[in-house]
């Protein structure tokens, strides 16, 4: 039987240090459930599922200590297809439900699967608070910039002017930039990747799972039914290298090929700017520092994508060390027990003024 302790000892571990490890070697097959996958053929979700299924054995965790929690939307079917514990919950609430689970069970690897509508519209409040609290969660935000399951209304990441069933004359509201939002929410780990680049996706997951606390991974995901080719510019060999800005910690931020090679430097207005590589000295090129305690430059980098798809940074924007919520919560329990011993129910009931009647 699983022991659930009332007190949890000091939790100074990092990443998945508190999650029990599997003795047996695992393969992709161990993580496939017997359920038939029901996304539309060609949906980007398939690629992400395959990437996650083939990545999980690498972690070497006990399968029974992994939990996937999702909200509502196409992507939220994800937990059904993984042979781990899982909850397919209600719209927008996965971060809240996962918070209770992760806060009470530091021995679990808890994943949140959500979409742009689920996490940025109906569940926006829960997302920002889970990030600010630094709950020990891996949050995968599948961003397809559209509502899929409800058949094609614009989402909070759709571009202004999006023509959809609910916006025949074009959408009016400015979209969220999920990376900017996460950084503004005090997130300790923020990254972006793309469904079509398995290597990059798995690389980001590797870092996200090694991070103890909340990690937010935005995954550009193609919805081929309602918003096909939304990220085509990042996939088309003719354009991708000229607009994709791969962020790598400790490396100068340069991208593009040949005559088009570009670099990022600090701009005089306090942000960052893209310039022709040839026009500046090496010393001027911004070196990416994901561990910078100050999130300003990471935020500036997240704005490079405005206007959309002129240049799109992918990779890890920010990865800083900060105590996770469950750790702090359990430390308080441990401190209270260490100070006065475990609670006695009879003692509690008799606390304060009492009197005897004979």
């Amino acid at each position: 039987m699983t022991e659930i302790h009332n007190g949890n000892g000091g939790l100074n571990g990092k990443g998945l240090a508190l999650v029990p490890r599997s003795e047996a070697k695992q393969t992709l097959k161990d993580f496939k459930s017997d359920q038939e996958v029901r996304w539309c053929p060609g949906c980007g979700d398939y690629a992400i599922l395959a990437a996650v299924q083939s990545f999980l054995p690498e972690l070497g965790l006990k399968r029974e200590n992994i939990v996937f929690v999702s909200g509502i939307g196409c992507s939220s079917r994800f937990p059904y297809y993984l042979n781990t514990y899982g909850i397919h919950s209600i719209h927008g609430r996965a971060p809240a439900i996962a918070t209770g689970l992760a806060a009470s069970r530091p021995d679990l690897s808890v994943w949140v699967i959500t979409g742009d509508g689920d996490s940025l519209s109906i569940g926006g409040n829960h997302l920002i608070h889970a990030l600010r609290r630094n709950v020990n969660l891996n949050i995968l935000l599948f961003n397809n910039r559209i509502y899929g399951l409800t058949k094609g209304q614009y989402s909070p990441t759709s571009e202004v002017g999006k023509i959809t069933k609910s916006t025949p004359m074009g959408s009016l509201d400015k979209p969220f930039n999920p990376i900017s939002l996460a950084l503004g929410s005090e997130a300790s780990f923020v990254a972006r990747t793309i469904d079509s680049d398995r290597k990059h996706l798995q690389g980001v997951l590797r870092e996200a799972t090694a991070h103890r606390g909340a990690s937010l991974v935005e995954i550009y995901q193609n919805c081929n039914i309602f918003n096909d080719n939304a990220f085509e510019a990042l996939k088309d060999p003719a354009t991708r290298d000229d607009i994709t800005v791969k962020l790598e910690h400790g490396q100068p931020i340069v991208f593009g090929t040949g005559d088009n090679e570009k670099a990022v430097r600090l701009s005089p207005t306090g942000g960052v700017e893209v310039v022709r590589r040839a026009d500046i000295a090496d010393s001027e090129i911004l070196i990416h520092d994901a561990h910078n305690p100050d999130p300003s430059v990471a935020f500036a980098l997240s704005r490079l994508d405005d206007p959309a798809f002129e240049h799109v940074p992918i990779g890890i924007f920010r990865s800083v060390d900060r105590p996770a919520y469950d750790q702090l919560l359990n430390e308080q329990v441990d401190t209270a027990i260490a100070a006065k011993g475990p609670g006695s129910l009879a003692g509690l009931l008799h606390s304060g003024d009492t009197w005897q009647i004979n």
Binding site: I4, G86, H88, I90, A103, N330, T335, L345, Q356
Partner: protein
């Protein structure tokens, strides 16, 4: 001079003043002294929702009523025998509740022209004849306090603020209360400010001495201790009892308690209290909103904790979707609704029983949920344990309906021995339950309780997925099969209908009453006191009180049909009456008043005798 001491069997005192005058604290202290002395007692705090309403105004009046007696009592009392009025607003707001001949102790210092005009007095009621029908004791409480504190190292403001302790001292003398508890309390409360502690103690003693020497009070009173069942007692409010009940449930279930909650009046004190009990492994999580509070609690339940969320009506409205998810996933969860006056924001500090139908039905789909309601402040303890028992045994969300009156009201409570408490521990699933010996079927039910197995993450071989989508009976896989859905809807309902609930007990001393008074929740005290009065007036009347509202006790229909008339007082527009009529086709007579206050015993005694009169007349 030794003054005469007069014996009384019961007294009702109301302390009233400005929100900033410390009336709740004064009332609490007097209550503690009275409990210590061994009287039975019942209290009713009544305060504005505003933290500090404008000083000296009617909306800013805060009061605390205490009823104590040498016998067992049931309510905070209908009408005070004594009103302590700290200012003109307190007098004006409370005078209409005061029967002729009652004592009024008024702080003359506050009856200034400006304060009188503020509440619409043309003249000074302490000086004209308008209070002639009451016994007025005009006492300059503020200036006497300031004078008593001359020579103490405190500011004038702090000296003035001690006037409530002067008043407490005076009342403590008047009713011969023990004082050690209050002195110790003041020492402890102001431990970091010894000068303030000394000043408050001096003010308290000055009040006592004033009573002893002034001619304004010629007699003092004594109310002998009550003869209660032997045991160790403490005074307890409903919110405190509920918090203790949740801790007890966690201990008796051997599961850690996880509370997800968002601050809301009048439930926040449960969150405050539980946050102090980390030594019991209690984890409290102040969420970003009501929805996250219940969501986190449900997530913790999935992980094997006792998940609880506490709120009031507006919060229950927001939590509805998550409660529905708990119904669908069949996970244990306790939802505490400390009901308050609605709709919408309503009157947050006032009591009501208006959330019963929301608790029963306020979700989409067929979504049955057990509903319980404590009858008295102390009963909140036992019903919290009972709510957890049902939630854990049947893997279901449970609604526990307290209310503002129970939450803040208090009464003496005989502290139970821990081994008197039920063992509510559960066993998690540890082995596959499929016929093949390897598969785990998360929705294969226990044939007796219809509860599904509870396998928590970390249990090897039982990995499974649950969620809000309809599941196939047994396997729990997603299913849109029409007959499966029909079966699951019926199974979920049958599980709740089959919960083991004790029979409804009827109090009918001679067994020949023809009228039954039925109640639920916090109206217990008022109804029982009304029944006592009716019986004292020679009427025959039976009483029964429901603490389980869903499912109802199995004998409910039989009890209802055994009487010519069933009277059901509710602080709503007849919500339980609607359920009983629909279910049992019994023409229940509703009595409904929704004033944000408990019923008065006399009011109910009148209604009872009217109904009995009708029965006799129709013979």
């Amino acid at each position: 001079m030794t003054k005469q001491v007069q014996q009384l069997d019961r007294v009702i005192i109301r302390f009233a003043g400005d929100s900033g005058d410390g009336m709740q604290l004064t009332g609490d202290r007097f209550t503690a002294e009275t409990a210590q002395f061994g009287n039975d007692l019942s209290t009713l705090p009544n305060f504005p929702a505003e933290i500090r309403a404008p000083a000296g105004t009617l909306p800013g009046v805060s009061s605390f009523q205490l009823h104590f007696a040498d016998h067992d009592i049931l309510t905070p009392g209908d009408a005070p025998n004594v009103l302590v009025a700290m200012n003109p607003a307190a007098l004006k707001a409370n005078l209409s509740d005061l029967p002729r001949g009652a004592d009024i102790i008024a702080n003359t210092d506050e009856f200034t022209k400006r304060n009188l005009t503020k509440v619409g007095y043309d003249g000074n009621p302490l000086e004209d004849d308008s209070l002639a029908e009451w016994r007025l004791h005009a006492v300059p409480l503020t200036s006497l306090t300031v004078k008593a504190l001359e020579g103490f190292d405190v500011s004038k403001k702090d000296a003035e603020r001690a006037k409530n302790m002067f008043a407490l001292g005076l009342l403590s003398w008047l009713y011969n209360r023990p004082t050690e508890g209050t002195l110790a309390f003041l020492e402890a409360k102001f431990a970091k400010k010894p000068e303030i502690a000394k000043a408050n103690i001096a003010a308290f003693q000055a009040g006592w001495n004033y009573g002893e020497t002034t001619e304004s009070f010629s007699v003092s009173y004594e109310v002998k201790p009550a003869r209660l069942k032997a045991g160790v007692y403490r005074n307890i409010s409903g919110n405190l009892a509920l918090a203790y009940g949740l801790v007890a449930a966690s201990v008796q279930a051997k599961l850690p308690l996880f509370l997800g909650s968002y601050p809301i009046t009048p439930a926040s004190d449960i969150l405050h209290e539980l946050s102090r009990h980390k030594r019991f492994g209690v984890r409290t999580f102040q969420a970003e909103d009501e929805i996250a509070g219940v969501g986190a609690a449900l997530g913790a339940s999935f992980g094997g904790s006792l998940g609880v969320t506490t709120t009031s009506g507006p919060g229950v409205a927001l939590k509805a979707e998550t409660v529905g998810l708990a119904v669908a996933t069949e996970l244990p969860l306790v939802i505490v609704d400390v009901q308050r006056a609605g709709p919408s924001t309503g009157m947050p500090t006032k009591t009501e029983q208006t959330d019963l139908l929301m608790a029963m039905f306020g979700r989409n789909g067929e979504s049955p949920v057990p509903v319980l309601a404590p009858a008295t402040p102390a009963d909140c303890f036992h019903m919290a344990v009972e709510a957890a028992r049902i939630a854990l045994k049947y893997r279901t969300p449970v609604m526990l309906l307290s209310d503002g009156y129970l939450a803040n009201g208090s009464e003496p409570w005989r502290i139970p021995e821990v081994d008197e408490l039920p063992d509510i521990s559960v066993e998690f699933a540890t082995e596959p339950n499929g016929e093949d010996g390897t598969t785990y079927l998360p929705f294969q039910r226990d044939p007796d309780t219809l509860a599904r197995p509870w396998a928590v993450p970390g249990t090897a071989g039982l990995e499974h997925r649950i969620g809000g989508i309809e599941k196939a009976d047994g396997s729990g896989n997603i299913s849109y099969d029409p007959d499966n859905h029909d079966r699951m809807v019926h199974l979920r309902q049958a599980k709740i209908d089959g919960i083991d609930v004790p029979d409804l007990a009827v109090d009918d001393p001679d067994g020949d009453a023809r009228v039954l008074v039925l109640g639920w929740g916090s109206t217990y005290g008022s109804i029982a006191a009304g029944v006592r009065r009716a019986r004292a007036a020679g009427h025959k009347v039976a009483q029964a009180h429901l603490r389980h509202l869903n499912p109802l006790p199995a004998n409910t229909g039989e009890v209802l049909r055994a009487y010519d008339k069933v009277l059901l007082p509710e602080i709503n527009l007849g919500q339980l009456a609607m359920l009983l009529r629909a279910r049992f086709l019994v023409d229940v007579i509703s009595y409904n008043r929704v004033r944000g206050l408990p019923f008065k015993a006399e009011e109910l005694a009148g209604v009872i005798s009217d109904v009995i009169g009708d029965v006799i007349e129709s013979d």
